[in-house]
Amino acid sequence: MFYDAGKIFTGLAIFLVGATFPFWYAMAAGKTAYKPEPVFPTSTSQCVESTEQMIAGHMEILDDWRNEVVRRSDREPIEINGTAYPKSLSRGCGNCHADQTQFCDRCHEYAGVSPYCWECHVEGD
């Protein structure tokens, strides 16, 4: 056998427990491999763009809207299924995705992004 085997294996065991602690901890907290579950609007079925485009590019749409509205004074509303929506975070996106904590935040927490928009933009009721 190895010299000082007891000490080595005890040390290794302590190391393994320590190194894998985050996994144990997450398992114990029931948060392993979860998928974010945003709550979708029920009143409509259509977003500004297709679902894929929204998932990948919603931040760019917001950027475009913001530039059009604030810098170019172009507040022409957009149309979805015949209904006009203002190009606005609170009154456009927020009109359908009323509860930001149940929608935007659920994904963002998961993805580890924290847009600071709501420090100014007033969230839905």
Binding site: V70, R71, S73, D74, S90, R91, G94, V122
Partner: protein, 267 residues
Amino acid sequence: MAASRRDFIKLAGFSVAGLCFGGPTGCATTAPVNGQGTAGKRWALVVDLRTPCPEGCTACMKSCNLAHNIPQWDDIKHEIKWIWKEPWEHVFPEQVHSYSTAALRELPVPVLCNHCDNPPCVRACPTKATFKTASGIVAMDQHRCIGCRYCLAACPYGARSFNWLDPRERLEEQGAALSRDFPTRTKGVVEKCNFCSERINDDASALPYCVEACREACSRHGREPVLHFGDLHDPSSPLLALLRESGANTIRRKPEIGTRPHVFYLV
């Protein structure tokens, strides 16, 4: 070759002469314009002081504060002001002399951002967070503001306020119902009157909140409103008629510095 003293003076002379031709050309007289959405218009505001505001009236300020989620601070150092009243002697110090009556000196005059044609704040802003729109509004893009406050220093009218403390917290403390139609601001950004861009660009017949509130308040007092708003590029605009045909003297604040304000006072 070592330049002689004589050569050096000659060269210096030519260099100075050269300035006469290619001299500094960076001093544009009008700030560049951003945006085409409302091109062709020139929004302006007229404050008709021929009959002063009803005593103690704060209708204009109240409606503006409410619509734009503007907090009220007790300490004047933290104040956020879009439209407010100043005594005549502060608004038009050059119009006051040793024989001016106390009544005139203390007359409350509504003041706000002048939406200058040649705005010093726009030139001072290093991030273009403040800029001129095609319809003459000096606008703020809060998303770009880095809080350097150069614009505050540049504005000759004190029309800009800096958020030293968190405005959202203060609004909640006040128990104010937040308007969803206009974002609040955060600690660390500058703000000022936006001529109600969010309203007037959507609908050409819409008025800024202050002007609307002034109309209502004045009609309750059975008199003509103090604040008037309109498009100076529209030949049939009543605002233009008011400026040209009222027969009153129309003055602007600090005309001598060349900012060309678009808030006019009828006196």
